[in-house]
Point group: C2
Chain length 243, copies 2
């Protein structure tokens, strides 16, 4: 199977996605936060591109919460930031959340043409791998595109590491593009010090400076949540049947 890794939400040329599974990764922190929110009973996450779009959509949906960030901080007038710890069961249980983040929600929207769009993070990586094996048995899949959300349209080491861990777990019978090959190498050389590598990355370092150390440690923890968030009709929901 062909696996392509793309480096950022700003990737200028998107491949043909229609017969492919797209896996969006934004380790720090959008997809980690979405996985956490769904595990904590959130009904659905609606990714939007701008705070303005979030405020407009709120008018249509009774009881919905607004979540997300700009420059890593909660947006004024929003209920929740982009920290997974904002999305505790008592806050998001049974609720829907409209979410906008600098990179992650853009990447999700850019992938909407694909046959399936799932959100991955270290937290749910093992479930993603299991779900991919199940999906391959059920439908014909032309390939997988791993869409690293990136940071300000730049290559992001935590996202690429997570992509590398996914590729490593999918085994040997795969063809990779250059960034996929690089991701596999980077994971192999860093797998024994994942947290340290993530803390020293540009984005990790910035979050530590802003006081989000707990977030960075949590988002670097592998395989603790059995959730496969999927984009269905414009909403990110937990598809239990894919596990």
């Amino acid at each position: 199977m062909r696996i392509e890794v793309l480096p950022s939400a700003g990737t200028p040329v998107l491949p043909y996605l229609e017969d492919k599974l797209v896996i969006v990764i934004d380790v720090l922190r959008a997809t980690s936060t979405m996985v956490t929110a769904l595990a904590n009973g959130c009904q659905a996450i609606l990714p939007v591109l701008t705070p303005e779009e979030a405020f407009e959509r709120r008018l249509e949906i009774p009881g919905v919460l607004l979540g997300g960030e700009r420059r890593s901080m909660r947006i004024e007038g929003f209920d929740l930031g982009n920290s997974p710890f904002d999305y505790a069961p008592e806050k998001v249980g049974g609720k829907r959340v409209i979410m906008t983040t600098t990179n992650g929600t853009r990447a999700i929207r850019a992938a909407a043409e694909a046959k399936a769009v799932w959100m991955a993070s270290f937290l749910n990586l093992e479930s993603i791998v299991r779900a991919i094996h199940h999906l391959k048995q059920r439908i014909s899949l032309e390939g997988i595109v791993i869409f690293c959300a990136g940071t300000e349209d730049r290559f992001d080491l935590p996202d690429t590491l997570c992509a590398g861990m996914l590729i490593d777990a999918l085994g040997q019978d795969i063809q990779l593009n250059d960034l996929g090959e690089a991701a596999r190498m980077i994971y192999q050389i860093s797998k024994l010090n994942l947290l340290e590598t993530i803390e020293q990355s540009d984005h990790g370092h910035r979050l530590l400076e802003l006081g989000f150390e707990k977030d960075v440690v949590y988002c670097s923890t592998a395989n603790i949540l059995p959730i496969v968030p999927a984009l269905v009709d414009g909403e990110v929901i937990w598809q239990m049947e894919s596990l």
Copy 2:
């Protein structure tokens, strides 16, 4: 010293370049070919963006040659392609060449604001390292930006490997952005099988299919040419005094 690696000619956001040294890398094949051309007595290379611009500029410069590629092949009406073997001493000795390639010449033009712009490849890597140490003694340098030309605006493994080799040679006293850290890791894990990694990369594989195996092997050879090509007044020339 701060070293930033940028992934492709299409990088959407360029950093502030004015007080920096930019090193452009397009291993397959633009910067490898430029280094070779200058080593073979070519007087200067004039990077332009389009074949049309090349034909126009030719009218102003008596005896100039046209070189470059689109889709890896020589452009119709051009004297030379993008293979280093096209730039033999008997063809380019004493001549100037107007050159346009898909990625490399775009990257050079995008870097023109910098304090200095040099072209690197595996062929001249040791000379680039030596020239950087000399330059640091002569002028105050805020940082280095390594500009991987990339392939069709995508991450390119051969360019990133070459960036990693350069970073590795510059020693430990450096701060890297995420892609720089990744480049160093990729080089460390691949340095004992550079040629194999380059041949299996997307661009390497395509050149092999097109019959350019000799080019790929040659461009993967490190430290055989003592040349530091520099962009001066819009022309790429060999600056002997930088060695």
